[in-house]
Structure formats: structure tokens, C-alpha cells
């Protein structure tokens, strides 16, 4: 145990006397006079229920949160009286700008109502009516292996930051908790689907695992959010859309629509977080660029992961014959360009328009586009 009580309560005279008095009915009742705001919150929209936004009042609200939280470093919920003697939990993050996003509370409420169940909401019984060609099944099993791998780190990362955030950031912590659940469910649904293909899990992806390690080992929450929510999940959102597009069955389409919804919510948080930072702390622009340089390097290096790209080509081309591969290669190239374009679109709207000029990834996109145009794949 890293922390041990400084008092042995079984032998401490003061504690035992106090305990005895309580047993005799001598109550203190000091808590009755807690110096807190008295209010009775009500739902603004009864159909929506009582939301965090309805609680955004006075010291209980998130609007009044200062940029630097100095007073409360304990487990005391925001708005409670802070008596002497609360422990300093030494939260790693006490700056609001490092975690805050516009609409955090809205993303949380949305996440809570849009939870789904990988065991029951996917019509697994319908699998019996599908018979997929062998090459499609193998490629799909490999894709599902990769997706299971990705979603495991996406579960771990927000989870490892949860306990390190100051407890005043209630809405962010709750949203992160929903993300942990979302990603765990994604890992579950992909694993389950892989184990229904007849091929089980296939091969892990070293290059992608190095990329995921970069996200896991971020030095700050802000770095992590940029790498995970904005870059990683932004790319995965497009990947889920593409996977829905090439899905071999209606059941798989449903799976990808469900995971897509969760992923888009996480990306939304990342975009709104970056917007918050750019508006309130424009001086962080250069640090953000430097971090994006590193993350984009890893993104580009993902091209090494043939165990990810090749299943996409086979699934998109619907087979392994020469014409299938040619068709699949073209569609997969378009998908990869779309991933990068959508990423830069989001950065534009966050106020980082100059990113296109300084990014090597954007340069790679332009070269790819020129090469596809030359080959007549795109106009």
C-alpha cells in the first residue's frame, strides 16, 4: 500500500471516545450547517430528464470553474463544503483548459442514452443465413483482429487518465468513463464477430501497436486527447464508415453503424476540446503543431501495416482475383485519402488552417492525389 493511515484507530483514545459518544446518541450535527449553496434543480426539458446542464448553477456548475483549480484537490464533489483535513490527492491535471471541451456535458448525456449492448443488440442469430467466400472471411477476420487490438488501447488510455484528473472536472471524468465503456464494448463486439467467422483471431499488427503506444505514453492529458480523440479516433471514424461501406452482411453494417456513433462522439469531444484551447490559449499553437508532427509521423508509418491495408483491399474489391485486387486497391486509396482530408477539415475548423502548409502528412496526401489523378483513378 502506497498510503497507510497515520492513526491506528483501534488504539487511538480520541477516536474511541468520539465513537463511544456517538453510540450514546450524543450527535455532532455540524454537517447540518454545511456552508453550501441551497438550490433545487429542475429539468429544463422534462422529456430530456435532469441533465448536467440543468445543474450548471453557482458553485455547482461548470461555467464558474476557474482555469486553475487550487482549492479542491480532494475527492470532495464540486460545490461541497471543504472542511479542514481533506487529503491532497495530487491530481496530475488541475488546469481546466487541459481537459475542457465545449458541450462536454452534452456529449456525456448523449453517451449515456446511446449505450448499446454487443451481446443483445446485434442480431447474431442471423449469421446462420450468411455464407461468405473463404477469402472474404479470412480478410474480414484479419480486419476484426486489428480492430480488437485498436479498441483495447482506446479503453486503457482514457481509463488510465481518469483518476489523475482533478475531481472538480466532473463532466469530463464522467464522459471519459463512458468512453472507456464504449471502447470496451467495441473490443468486445469485434472479438465476438471475429470468433464467429470460422477463422477466429488472425495476426497482431506490430506497426500499429507502436502507434498506439505513442498515444498511451502521452506526457499530458492534452497531448493524449489530441493523439487519441482528434487524430486516432478521427481516422478510425472514417475507417468505421469505410468498413460499413464494404461490410459483407447487414449484420456487419449494423455493428459498424453502432460503433461509428460512439466514435463520432469521441471525435466531437476532441474537436471541441481543441477549439476551446485555441480560443482560450492561442499561445499553445506551436506546442500543438509539434505534437501533431509526431503523431502524423506515426499515422503515415501505418502504411507499413500490410496486415491492415490488404484485408481492406480484398474486402473492398470483393475477392482476390486480379480485377478484384485492382478495384480494391483503388477504393482503399480513396478511403485513405478521405481519412486524411477529413482530419485536416477538422483542424481547419479548430483554427489550425496553417497545418496543411507545414504538415508532411498533408504533403503526402497531395502526392497521393496527384498519383491517383495521373493513374486516372480520380478526376
Amino acid at each position: 500500500m502506497a498510503y497507510l493511515s497515520t492513526i491506528d484507530f483501534f488504539t487511538d483514545r480520541n477516536f474511541l471516545d468520539r465513537w463511544q459518544r456517538t453510540l450514546r446518541g450524543e450527535l455532532d450535527l455540524g454537517w447540518l450547517h454545511a456552508k453550501t449553496e441551497k438550490l433545487a434543480a429542475t429539468p429544463e426539458n422534462p422529456r430530456r430528464g435532469l441533465t448536467f446542464r440543468d445543474l450548471d448553477q453557482g458553485a455547482y456548475g461548470f461555467t464558474a470553474l476557474p482555469e486553475v483549480v487550487r482549492q479542491n484537490r480532494s475527492l470532495a464533489p464540486r460545490g461541497a463544503e471543504l472542511p479542514e483535513g481533506l487529503p491532497d490527492l495530487q491530481p496530475a491535471v488541475s488546469h481546466k483548459s487541459e481537459v475542457w471541451a465545449y458541450n462536454t456535458e452534452g456529449y456525456y448525456e448523449e453517451a449515456m442514452t446511446r449505450q448499446w449492448n454487443a451481446t443483445l443488440d446485434v442480431p447474431w442469430h442471423e449469421l446462420a443465413k450468411y455464407e461468405l467466400p473463404d477469402d472474404i472471411s479470412r480478410a474480414y477476420a484479419q480486419l476484426l483482429t486489428f480492430l480488437t487490438e485498436v479498441e483495447m488501447i482506446a479503453t486503457d488510455v482514457p481509463a488510465q487518465w481518469l483518476g489523475r484528473l482533478n475531481n472538480e472536472f466532473t463532466e469530463v471524468k464522467n464522459f471519459m468513463a463512458t468512453q472507456v465503456m464504449d471502447e470496451a464494448r467495441h473490443s468486445e463486439v469485434f472479438r465476438k464477430r471475429a470468433l464467429t467467422t470460422g477463422y477466429g483471431l488472425m495476426k497482431a499488427s506490430p506497426q500499429n501497436e507502436w502507434s498506439l503506444k505513442l498515444i498511451r505514453d502521452s506526457d499530458s492529458f492534452a497531448e493524449m486527447s489530441l493523439a487519441l480523440h482528434l487524430v486516432g479516433e478521427g481516422f478510425v471514424l472514417t475507417l468505421f464508415r469505410f468498413s460499413e461501406y464494404i461490410s459483407p452482411t447487414e449484420l456487419d453494417k449494423k455493428i459498424f453503424r453502432l460503433v461509428m456513433q460512439d466514435e463520432a462522439r469521441h471525435v466531437g469531444y476532441g474537436v471541441q476540446h481543441l477549439k476551446w484551447v485555441m480560443r482560450h490559449f492561442p499561445e499553445k499553437r506551436e506546442v500543438i503543431h509539434q505534437h501533431l508532427d509526431e503523431v502524423e509521423n506515426m499515422v503515415f508509418g501505418g502504411g507499413y501495416a500490410v496486415e491492415v491495408t490488404e484485408p481492406f483491399i480484398i474486402l473492398a474489391g470483393k475477392g482476390t482475383k486480379k480485377e478484384n485486387i485492382e478495384h480494391g486497391t483503388r477504393i482503399t486509396a480513396l478511403f485513405q485519402m478521405k481519412q486524411i482530408e477529413e482530419y485536416f477539415e477538422r483542424l481547419d475548423k479548430c483554427g489550425l488552417q496553417e497545418r496543411r502548409q507545414r504538415s508532411k502528412l498533408h504533403n503526402a496526401l497531395e502526392l497521393t492525389r496527384a498519383s491517383l489523378q495521373e493513374a486516372g483513378v480520380i478526376p
Partner: protein, 157 residues
């Protein structure tokens, strides 16, 4: 009674079905988005604005223009693409693998997503299952679709 497509009546019918099936949509969660539907032929366009709030489609109306900075996105496609999608939904009780909204819009081959802010565009993905199931409700309607011609165009009455 047959419900013509495209028409405001068609979207009002979907809105009514969504309200009747509240338990199904409550299970899918909050859906808060306002988006446009644009159906075009070579010589005319039909435009509808749908507003979803909490668990329902709160409002549908016909509009003359869209302000992309005030709404989340517009789903646009030629009449033939819409008709093919609705015909497919009618045949299968819901969109099949080739006719889901995401598939039709992904590369903009059949339907296109128009938007100003990609974060608002992403609401199409955030509420994807709700929006898909909203359109799948059309399988329960007796829709009068324009006739397809051999060339793939459609003829409206």
C-alpha cells in the same frame, strides 16, 4: 392511401411513425440534429428540413433554401437514387447492404453530404442508427414512388 414521394406528406408520415414507435427510438438514445433533405432532377428540386430533438422528429417542413451554417448537414441526391433506396427499403423491410445511408454517402456516389462545419457533419455519424431506422420506417408506408425509366431516370407525375 398512397403517400407520394417526394412530398412533405411522406416525411410527416415518417415523423408520425417515429412518434408511434417511441420505445424503439428511446432505446437508441438522444438524437439532436437538424438536417436537410434535397432531392433533385434535371429540372427541379425538393427540399425538406428535419429537426430531431430528444427522442423524436420534432418538425418537418418544406424549405426553399438551406443555410449550411445554421443546420448540421444536407443529404442530397438525385431522385433516382432516393427512389432506389426507398424501393429497396420497401422490399427488404429496411436498407440492404448496398442501400444504407452510410454506404450511399460514403464516397458521394449516390447521395452527397453537404456541410459547412465537419463537426456538425459528424452528427450524421453520431446519430447514424437513429437516422437509418427513421428512413427504414418507410417500409411500413404505402409509398407511391415515381416510375423508373430504362435509362435509370425517374418520371414524376
Amino acid at each position: 392511401m398512397k403517400i407520394p414521394f417526394p412530398s412533405l406528406t411522406f416525411f410527416q408520415a415518417l415523423q408520425a411513425l417515429m412518434r408511434q414507435d417511441e420505445a424503439r427510438f428511446r432505446r437508441l438514445g438522444f438524437v439532436d440534429t437538424t438536417f436537410g433533405i434535397r432531392i433533385v432532377t434535371t429540372d427541379r428540386a425538393w427540399q425538406y428540413l428535419l429537426t430531431f430533438e430528444v427522442f423524436e422528429c420534432r418538425e418537418v417542413r418544406e424549405v426553399s433554401t438551406f443555410d449550411l451554417t445554421a443546420i448540421d448537414f444536407v443529404l442530397q441526391g438525385d431522385l433516382a437514387a432516393w427512389v432506389e433506396m426507398l424501393d429497396n427499403i420497401r422490399q427488404h423491410g429496411g436498407a440492404d447492404v448496398s442501400h444504407s445511408l452510410n454506404t450511399l454517402t460514403h464516397f458521394g456516389e449516390r447521395l452527397t453530404l453537404l456541410y459547412d462545419d465537419p463537426d456538425n457533419r459528424d452528427k450524421f455519424f453520431r446519430f447514424q442508427e437513429s437516422i437509418q431506422e427513421f428512413f427504414d420506417l418507410a417500409s411500413a408506408l404505402d409509398v407511391e414512388l415515381p416510375m423508373s425509366t430504362a435509362a435509370g431516370a425517374v418520371v414524376t407525375t
